[in-house]
């Protein structure tokens, strides 16, 4: 038998309002879901949006109805549901209102006018300094101190108002309010008021008491509330696009028109490959595969015959090959020198802090700037790298009367070297960061181990091999995993350094570059999404293998 605490009439009224509100909310949400499919609400929305909004409305409707029942039974679960639904609805209305008022576009506009207001921010700063000057006043001059504080406040306030005026904030506010007068803006504001009222109503201490809310319930709610900005950000800006891209990978989306569901067609195109035997190494691809579907990706020559590898989308397979080649070279070149360097920098020689900072600098430098600098260095005709190679060769030729031919390496315009030019930049840039990680790992290794090894007569190499490396295994695993994932996503260096980014004979086209090109240059967002998911599977597979190997080999696990 359920027993109810005695509640005062006001609380009773608030609870009844809450129950009624939950019922109305449930009906409105259900009505909204139905009207989506009768064409009243969002008639032009694509299918995926309708499905998504319907699911959200149905869930909200069901939970709201449950909430009404629970509140009527004086169960704290009703309050929890009510607060969650109203809070989320309030956030949605607030975002809608901000969007209707074009606040997000306005932030861009503010960025353009912000600099003109900086002098006025100087006034605010000056006001602040006026305020802190009171510390220098003798105790007896209280009046002067008070006046100075007042002046400080006025200066800061005046400066801030002038700043807002200068950057056009006043115009912006008026524009925002003007835009809010649209029906959707008014509806959003009304929604915000209603949900805020409902939150206040159910959030009352007496209401909580009437619903048997305990301290731990409040703590749970507070925890979720504090987590909600991050959680909502994660759901909207990470999980949401992730799910959306998965959906798009099954459509022919071009990012502009309503996408059509095409099932696994995108994946089928990516994975549509064929191998064919060649009767001679030079036999044309069109003689062994249907050239209307397949293009030659490569051929393996075995004596006087060979095997042809053809694919419906040869660029994907070339990009995959290039990406894996890049990983194969970039990861060891980013990790092994970092390991060596960290051991050197871990010594207590003078100036080590300076060198630690120095090696870290490439990691924090802008990729675009770095790539442009390297573009100059790599120039085959007037670049510094070839210039120094030429000087070196001339030096040796003159010194020993040799006839070494200057190779004049075409770093970025020769398909044999282009990818390695990118590998080198990436390794150079990542090495400093990895060095810092290894340094942190090295400093966690107990010194006693080395002392014991020294007593046992171990040399420097033995200590490194038998102590440092095994003890660094978790760090090494982390460094290798993250560097591999990063290398699989190589894009910026290639995009800026190479012209065109695909490089000579497609030698630097990588998977991310290819999906970027498909999605943003060729308007094939659906296909680009499918490439992204295949890339995810490849990265996931590689990481899984690394995890398993780590478990087998780690001294910590054993």
């Amino acid at each position: 038998m359920t027993t109810y605490l005695q509640t005062d009439s006001r609380t009773e009224l608030l609870l009844r309002i809450s129950i009624v509100w939950r019922g109305i909310f449930a009906l409105l949400a259900a009505g909204g879901a139905i009207s989506l499919w009768t064409g009243t609400l969002l008639p032009a929305a694509p299918l995926w949006q309708k499905v998504l909004v319907t699911a959200a409305l149905v869930i909200a409707s069901i939970f709201s109805a449950i909430g009404a029942v629970l509140i009527s039974r004086r169960n704290h679960g009703g309050r929890m549901i009510s607060l969650t639904l109203d809070y989320l609805s309030f956030v949605i209305c607030a975002v809608l209102a901000l969007n209707t008022g074009e606040v997000f576009v306005g932030i861009d506009a503010l960025a353009e006018t912000f600099t003109s207001g900086i002098p006025y921010l100087g006034i605010v700063l000056l006001g602040y300094f006026l305020g802190v000057m009171d510390e220098y006043f003798p105790q007896k001059k209280q009046d002067a101190e008070t006046s100075l504080k007042a002046a400080s406040r006025w200066v800061m306030l005046g400066g801030f108002v002038l700043f807002l005026f200068q950057v056009g904030a006043l115009k912006g506010i008026l524009y925002f309010l003007g835009k809010l007068t649209q029906p959707i803006g008014i509806a959003s504001v009304i929604g915000m008021i209603i949900f805020a009222f409902s939150l206040w109503l159910i959030g009352q201490a007496k209401t909580a008491e009437a619903l048997h809310v305990k301290t731990n319930h409040e703590q749970i709610l507070s925890g979720w509330l504090f987590l909600s900005p991050n959680l909502l950000g994660f759901l909207i800006f990470f999980a949401g696009p992730l799910v959306l891209s998965f959906y798009f990978s099954f459509t022919d989306s071009d990012a502009i028109n309503t996408p059509n569901w095409i099932g696994f067609a995108n994946y089928a195109k990516i994975l549509n490959i064929q191998f064919a035997f060649l009767s001679s190494p030079t036999q044309l691809a069109k003689e062994v595969v249907d050239i209307k579907i397949y293009d030659e990706v490569g051929r393996f020559v075995i004596g006087n015959s060979g095997i042809l590898f053809a694919a419906a989308d040869k660029f994907f397979w070339i990009a995959l090959r290039n990406t894996l080649t890049f990983v194969l070279f970039a990861v060891p070149l980013s990790v092994i020198p970092a390991l060596v360097l960290s051991n050197v920098l871990n010594s207590k020689l003078p100036g080590m802090k300076f060198f630690r900072s120095l090696y870290f600098m490439p990691s924090i430098a802008a990729v675009v700037g770095i790539s442009l600098v390297w573009q100059w260095l790599y120039n085959a005709t007037i670049g510094y790298i070839n210039y120094f190679i030429t000087l070196g060769i001339e030096f040796w030729n003159n010194l020993f009367n040799l006839a070494i031919i200057d190779p004049k390496i075409q770093w970025v315009s020769d398909e044999k070297t282009a990818l390695f030019a990118v590998v080198f930049i990436a390794a150079w840039q990542t090495m400093g960061f990895n060095t810092v990680l290894f340094l942190a790992g090295l400093q966690n290794i107990p010194g006693e181990l080395y002392e014991a090894a020294t007593v046992d007569g171990a040399g420097a190499w033995d200590k490194f091999w038998a102590i440092t490396l095994p003890m660094l295994a978790p760090t090494t695993f982390y460094v290798v995993s993250t560097t591999t994932i990063q290398a699989m996503q190589v894009f910026e260096q290639v995009f800026i350094l190479m012209n065109p980014p695909e490089g000579p004979n497609n030698s630097t086209i990588t998977l991310v570059l290819y999906l970027y090109r498909s999605g943003f240059q060729n308007f094939e967002q659906g296909y680009a999404s499918a490439i992204a998911w295949v890339l995810f599977i490849v990265i996931f597979g590689l990481t899984l293998v690394q995890f398993q190997r780590q478990r087998k080999s780690s001294i910590y696990e054993s």
Partner: protein, 470 residues
């Protein structure tokens, strides 16, 4: 009380001094754009001074704000476009203009624009290269301004070069071009063509004949070109006879000049495997391999030329502002004639188009016209970066005075009807970016020695023809 007053007075004084300092800040650079030093003032350009008439549909009441964008190549162009925007703002009634220079080192102009078009935040009027027109038009991203143009007094498509207008008036529904096709996708911002920028110091030092004289005598052909290139290349291992960037433009010149083409006559299939196209490619390859006179393919030849190490640098009019800073004696000459009897040059162009989602199509159309008047084009052409897209003798006469180079006529010869330039254009029956994606690396493979011309000819169209089904 007195102290309070004193501090309030100080407060006001501080605020006022900062406010005055802020108000006295220099005006944005855009309003201070310097005139090109030795070019005629923009107002001396051929006159079409009056602002174009808006379509007879009445503009919306009150000021409407239009955003417009074009791709500038340097800060000087940004300054000129900003100045033009300010001028047109006052000329166009009821319209407030916002100019947005597009593209940075890290954000390609077209990629950024495409993203904004997809997001619905693209400007009302924007520039796109000629090769993108079909893609944008068939996807419904740009407005067909034919109806607006029909209602505009004095507008005539024949005022612009025929090549670009054939593409800009192409109606895919009836497969027809021209003033009565029912389609008008925009108006060309400017035109350009290739020429050879000459380092006369190197040519004189090598004792090679002056290409400008050879051109005047009608003797400027592939053999004469190769002769000059070889003689200058012999000056040193770091001196090159010829240089060109790695893209379809320079490749196409040699193919066109040999009588070939990228496409068949109605641009519905690949024609890169024809004997003429392969002859052009063979000659181009010889510049990089057999004769070894060229800056290695794929290396940017512009800094090498500007460093004084290239005798003949093939580029468009857009390279002129940069070349004007070099310290050696330089000039330009038209491209050499090939076996077809012509230089096989391109007529490059890009167009101002109207966003299909603009809320103010009539005003946007008025802006597009205003941006392509002879006066506006004259102001931009004075910088030296391009050639006005209006067919007007006055415009051409003015262009010749925008020197250096002394031999501006070389550019005009390149776009003259006698030279039969091929207008850069989109593929209405296929995808130009896809075609370029397939053929560009394949041509590069030939020019860098990774594949032979024969192997290229045997396979290229099998692969490239697929883009015409898309």
């Amino acid at each position: 009380m007195k102290k309070n007053l004193l501090f309030k007075a100080i407060s006001l004084l501080v605020i006022a001094s900062f406010a005055l300092a802020a108000c006295g800040a220099p005006a944005p650079a855009a309003t201070e754009a310097p005139a090109a030093t030795d070019a005629p003032a923009a107002t001396e350009a051929p006159a079409m001074t009056e602002a174009p008439a808006a379509a007879t549909e009445a503009p919306a009441a009150g000021d409407v704000t239009l955003r417009w964008r074009t791709r500038p190549d340097n800060q000087e162009e940004i300054d000129v476009y900003s100045k033009i925007s300010t001028e047109l703002d006052t000329e166009l009634d009821g319209v407030t203009l916002t100019y947005e220079p597009g593209g940075t080192e890290g954000a390609n102009y077209q990629d950024q624009l495409r993203s904004e078009v997809a997001a619905g935040t693209a400007p009302d009027v924007f520039w796109i290269p000629g090769t993108d027109v079909a893609d944008f038009a068939t996807r419904g991203l740009i407005l067909n301004a034919a109806d607006l143009a029909a209602k505009t007094d004095g507008f005539n498509v024949d005022d612009f070069y025929a090549g670009p207008m054939a593409h800009l008036t192409y109606n895919p529904e009836g497969a027809k071009s021209g003033a009565d096709s029912g389609a008008l996708w925009g108006l060309p911002r400017d035109v350009s063509t290739f020429a050879l920028y000459l380092n006369m110091d190197l040519i004189n030092e090598a004792g090679a004949p002056d290409p400008r004289e050879l051109a005047k005598e009608g003797k400027w052909d592939w053999a004469a070109f190769l002769d000059v290139a070889k003689k200058t290349r012999a000056l040193g291992t770091d001196i090159y006879g010829y240089g060109a960037s790695a893209w379809w433009g320079p490749n196409g010149v040699w193919i066109n000049s040999a009588g070939g083409n990228f496409f068949n006559a109605d641009r519905t299939a690949c024609a890169l495997n024809t004997p003429e196209a392969l002859e052009g490619l063979t000659f181009q390859k010889s510049l990089y391999a057999d004769n070894d006179v060229a800056v290695p393919y794929g290396e940017d030849p512009e800094p090498v030329f500007r460093a004084g190490n290239v005798a003949m640098f093939q580029n468009g009019r857009w390279a002129t502002p940069g070349v004007r800073t070099v310290e050696f004696e330089w000039d330009v000459v038209e491209l050499p004639n090939g076996p077809s009897g012509t230089a096989g040059n391109w007529l490059f162009w890009g167009a101002y188009v109207i966003n299909a989602k603009t809320e103010h199509p009539a005003e946007a159309w008025a802006l597009v016209q205003a941006l392509t008047t002879a006066k506006t084009q004259g102001e931009i052409a004075a910088l030296g970066a391009n050639i006005p897209s209006r067919v007007s003798q006055e415009a051409l006469d003015a262009f010749v005075t925008f020197s250096p180079p002394a031999n501006n006529q070389a550019f005009l010869n390149g776009i003259a009807a006698d030279s039969n330039p091929t207008a850069e254009g989109p593929l209405w029956a296929g995808s130009w970016p896809e075609f370029d994606k397939v053929t560009g690396p394949a041509v590069q493979g030939v020019l860098t020695g990774a594949t032979t011309v024969e192997a290229f000819g045997a396979t290229i169209c099998d692969e490239a023809d697929k883009v015409f089904t898309k």
